[in-house]
Subunit: 311 residues, 4 copies
């Protein structure tokens, strides 16, 4: 096996986007999130992913997020920026904006809000990469875009230099393993898992790193996990992962039948960050509601059980 | 049963967006499409729906489409404009733009590119309507947005004056019938079907009108169908519908395995309009490919069988 | 258009299977159901469909149902019998049993509990038909078997004499319309809709008849609807359908979150038949629970509103 | 963490069912499969799972399979037998038959061919367990039955002694991890993965064993993997898994568009076993076709690359 030299590796959290009580970008809180993640050992930042409420932000607000994150991280680690748009032309427009504002790479999904086809997804990535100077990563997130990116689609794009990596949030770990095995001869191609419940397992299988939403709450934990995995200390990696599995119970705090899974998950991340003193509020973008006091108390209990400090 | 006085009724085609060979909005062709539809007897126009490639157009190009359509129709019929965006804030931004450019009403889907929930969809429509002066119609299009809008969600929004109507492209005619029956006491609420294969049947069930993609190709046929239905001449309505069912075989012209269903369908509409002399090219937005010569020949044969003139 | 001479037409209710308090086939109640349906004007009976709890009955109990229904109907109308089994060999085994017990025709789905493919579904129907003397109808019920039977699959099987008809419970009325139009040259092929909410609309489109689950509760209503449609009295057909749409609200009586859609639907049918004095209990097969008193009261109110007599 | 003492652990292959050229159970070949698996180190056998074509076998043929497998294994390892039927009563009937024929445990799915609900699935498992003397394992296989068994459903059933274990073929490894973590206090409960592409990863996460379809072809490989995992030699486990990932390319031998995924997969397993001299033919049950010469050659090449002997 060729030694791997992926451009992006380690823990690259998908940065949440804090909001003020009236729904504006909370710049100070966002700066503190960046500081919190870098302090935790993040080796990169992924702004404007699902965890960053990207689908809920107007282009102007997306630009604001990019500016704050690139400024706050100040070149310490690469900043990957989502250009999550329905189709090719719109994605290029957003990707160029990100590039102009200092993104080190852009992250792009398959087309959505339309029916698509593998031949069109292939052209989509090729057209986007051709229109940009920065590297492009594919974002495999069928729960949002309702297409799965198969290894048979991704590997030729990697081999042709169109894609610099993939963030796999598909939950399809068999497909991910086939991707990792298929990428053996592509040492620079970054294979990153977003499956935060099984990062240890995906690292064992050959992932280069992870993009865990829960890493917003406990970046230190995911970094310890990653480092243990890299040195082959699987007992430590597993124990850390098990602790994080329990921590992820925070996403079950929202009362059933009152919120989407997205609101329950993002709401838990934001509430935990609020409890940890990193962000000022747990406000979410409309039409999502913020979690209430009882739900917040349940999350506080999870943090305590996981041994995470609260402010 | 209360006499119905829906604000929008009749045939309201979802206007296709012609493109030039290099992918720009083809303004002259779009003007001719509008003229063709009005000549056919359209009682309204729906710009920037799925058939209008809305998911493929940047905001600037969307604005251009609105300008051309409102100018070309010159107030002869209401212009409904899609504000098809992922979530509330983004949809409001686009809806306000449409309003400012002269839209008579806006058409909005459930949130997409995220997991949502009925409580959030309800708030979504309420927030959007509150932010606008023009009426709002719901666009039920699960094939694009992966949520179904049930009568139990829509009827309270109609009763509260949030929604002025619905365009149902769900293909779920049982749900549509329940919606029609439920809207008996809401005489102003417009219940429009987008199910172009069964417009006669939906009219029998009580629809106020239709928004048929195929109506771009043959508006005269859908208007004849509508008028027959209104006067209770179901034999004529059915015969017209049967002819249109056969005509819709144009969407099977694309070679299997080489294009998405969207590209096959839109490509057929554009190719048919090209063959009929209404638009200059059958170019589609990336990453969709245009239909080729053999596929075009198959569509020409369908037009001939359906008795449609070609230029 | 060739005059149609379908072997099966009119209203062919999918007969429910009454159970005793201890879960055995309630033969007397089943006889009364048959009598009730024939009194209502049913032109055929479909035993062991979804409404007949076929998936919940052992082969021995299925045999018992066939015996009771064929004996009770005594040749007055054809008895179609479901042979709903996972794959070809198992379906043939059950179909032969039905044939031996007097079924006039058998009704068969696509393979299920496995991943299948159109080439295999095609062979499935051909092998089954070749193994039997009685006619075979296809049962298109994706909600149960998770495959859709497209016109492109069914029409060649009809043309080759493999299939004598189709019961369409797919809810995909566009596909159904294409099937009806495609079957114009196959005058003996029976195209039956199971979409009980829009029977008037499907009759307008060219259906030969219907197989409505709700027809168990109100066969007279569906027969009136059918007869109005046949004589072209669409106003009467629509009014009857609208009344039946309201009646179908009985399926919403089950408390949300406490039962499957199947249990809510079948439970409502059985409860309504109990209230109407046709069956002795509303017991359902495990693991479904029977509806309780409060749910029964809600159903009684629906019956009253629909003008249906109660015993 | 409590030391685990699961009743079933190690590699428990889902035994394929060899057929003769005319579609009967090939008893001699089935005996050789059992011998081959025991020689490979299997610690149990799972007869009549998906890989055993259970959905394709009549009850009589299923009985025959149980007899051959129990006789051939002669008590050396436990024999788990699938009772894969649509609903409770039917599953009990098949489970009792299996019990009577010597099954050590039965394996049962959620109800299928119907719409179900968690409350009903819960009752389903409880009723089945109450009707049997042997242990019951849950089979989580949404690709067949279209319901997912969540940890929130399974763990209470485990705690109540209803379920002795689970075979997870859901492909949802996050859910599986939550199940493993949740089962920490249930040392006897067997948590087995059917996700043959990531057995190393699932073992790292805490699985007690695996039920890999590909284990029919290479039981020795999966046993080496398991043993390496048990002793904490993750480098060896991973290397073995990677070899098996490559071997699983045999399922891509079937020409695209000519067979279901089930036929492609089972056909590859049977063809590989034929090439290895274990079974006499690669015949599959109707309506599946057997793989042809070209497809067989592709599979032979995969076996050679994986270092597996051929006869």
């Amino acid at each position: 096996m060729t030694a791997r030299t992926p451009r992006y590796s380690g823990v690259i959290p998908p940065v949440v986007t804090p909001l003020t009580a009236d729904g504006e970008i909370d710049r100070l809180s966002l700066e503190r999130v960046v500081e919190h993640l870098l302090d935790g050992g993040a080796s990169g930042l992924f702004a404007l992913g699902s965890s960053g409420e990207t689908a809920y932000l107007t282009p102007a607000r997306q630009d604001e997020v990019i500016k704050v994150v690139t400024a706050a991280s100040a070149g310490q680690v690469p900043v990957l920026v989502g250009a999550i748009e329905t189709t090719t032309g719109r994605a290029i427009e957003r990707a160029r904006a990100a590039e102009a504002l200092g993104a080190d790479a852009v992250v792009v999904t398959a087309p959505f809000c339309t029916r698509t086809h593998d031949t069109e997804i292939d052209r989509h990535f090729r057209d986007i990469a051709a229109a940009l100077d920065v590297p492009v990563l594919a974002y495999d997130v069928p729960v949002c875009v309702h297409s799965k990116l198969d290894p048979e689609l991704l590997l030729p794009l990697a081999a042709d230099g169109v894609l610099a990596g993939v963030k796999d949030s598909s939950g399809d770990d068999g497909s991910f393993r086939r991707l990792v095995v298929g990428a053996r001869g592509l040492p620079d191609f970054s294979v990153l898992t977003g499956h935060e419940l099984v990062v240890d397992a995906m690292m064992l299988g050959g992932a280069d790193g992870s993009v865990p939403g829960l890493g917003n709450v406990d970046p230190h934990g995911y970094v310890r996990l990653h480092e243990a995995a890299i040195r082959g200390d699987w007992t430590t990696a597993r124990a850390e992962q098990d602790r994080l599995v329990a921590l992820l119970d925070i996403v079950r705090a929202a009362r059933p039948g009152t919120a989407s899974a997205t609101a329950a998950g993002l709401g838990a991340f934001k509430t935990a960050l609020m409890l940890r003193g990193v962000v000022a509020t747990n406000v979410m973008s409309p039409p999502m509601r913020r979690l209430d006091e009882a739900e917040t108390a349940a999350i506080a209990a999870c943090l305590d059980r996981a041994g995470l400090s609260r402010s």
